[in-house]
Subunit: 220 residues, 2 copies
Amino acid sequence: MSAATPPVPRPQEPVEPQELFRLGTDADEPCLRADAARNRARLLEAAARLVAERGADGITMEEVAAAARVGKGTVFRRFGDRTGLLTALLDHSEKKFQAAFLSGPAPLGPGAPPVDRLRAFGLAMLRRTADELELQLAAEADAGRRYTVAPRRVLRHHVTLLLREAVPDADCELLAYTLMAQLDPALVHHLVRQCGMPPERLEAAWTDLVDRVTGSAAAR
Amino acid sequence: MSAATPPVPRPQEPVEPQELFRLGTDADEPCLRADAARNRARLLEAAARLVAERGADGITMEEVAAAARVGKGTVFRRFGDRTGLLTALLDHSEKKFQAAFLSGPAPLGPGAPPVDRLRAFGLAMLRRTADELELQLAAEADAGRRYTVAPRRVLRHHVTLLLREAVPDADCELLAYTLMAQLDPALVHHLVRQCGMPPERLEAAWTDLVDRVTGSAAAR
């Protein structure tokens, strides 16, 4: 059936290099003094801990300041408001994750075969989502922006490039949407929190999906 | 790698039989007189046409009444308000589609091999979504309910059952989420409207995905 389908043109939806660059570096924070940078890191760490404990809706700027042992004024000066703090938190986490898959150790980073990197990517994403579920859900509250926000595009672009290495004959751009859907925070939330599925089952399903999609023998 | 993954229990998330029954029949409309039933059908047809032309936000009860050549009072009496009308419209479309895959002609209906039925199901869904995109987007505005609304669960259950026939060794419940994600109205909207992809490309990608996931030879 698919053999009879006529080939269709594949318009590209490129990721702008500056998007990758902006997320991957601290270019927006070039002039932080050492103590300011330390304060910022402590605040983000404290905020991440509190969000993981109580959800993004359950924290105040004052609590974050207290948990980080930093003056209240510093939090407001640094992040403006709660939304600014949560945005910085997610951005910080994206940067760390992006560094890991772009230049960290294999198999998540470069140096391993593409199918191994795909498997590692999904498992790392699922574990990261488990840790940051509340934060990621808050960032994706607007369903319409699910496919267009910059961090999601960067991740999908990475998956597209790995698929092009693994299955060059496929429509890798669309397959990347399929794979990314399996890692969608709203789906993980539904399966783990609403249906009570063990995270290990999601991890096994990811590995199986990668193997099926790439035609790797391990799954069969 | 996946061979080393320990087997995990697979809790079921069954679809209640009454959910299927409620959607698949006109049990909620048992006492409509013939002329009332005709009016209702004309109103739904007119509303569907207007929604396809202008989107769900762009119609009023008065316009629907005028387009169906039915008194304004009849529309309000029948559907209450715009939300009631749009809900009835989507429910009507779900019933038609459900009848088609439960008892219509093969390969969408029973009688064809499961992989052929999966291919036909996705193509029918994509075409239906193209016709009803505005309506389906309006119904799924709340991202949190994306996986739990009854019609979505019925469709996913159907895909799960076909997958169990085609690949009994797989985690078919989770694979069904993956396949359904490819048919998500918000994704179709993003790809077709925002990225300008031709619908034929989505159809080809669906067929290819079914073949990869079920290990059917046609895709390779």
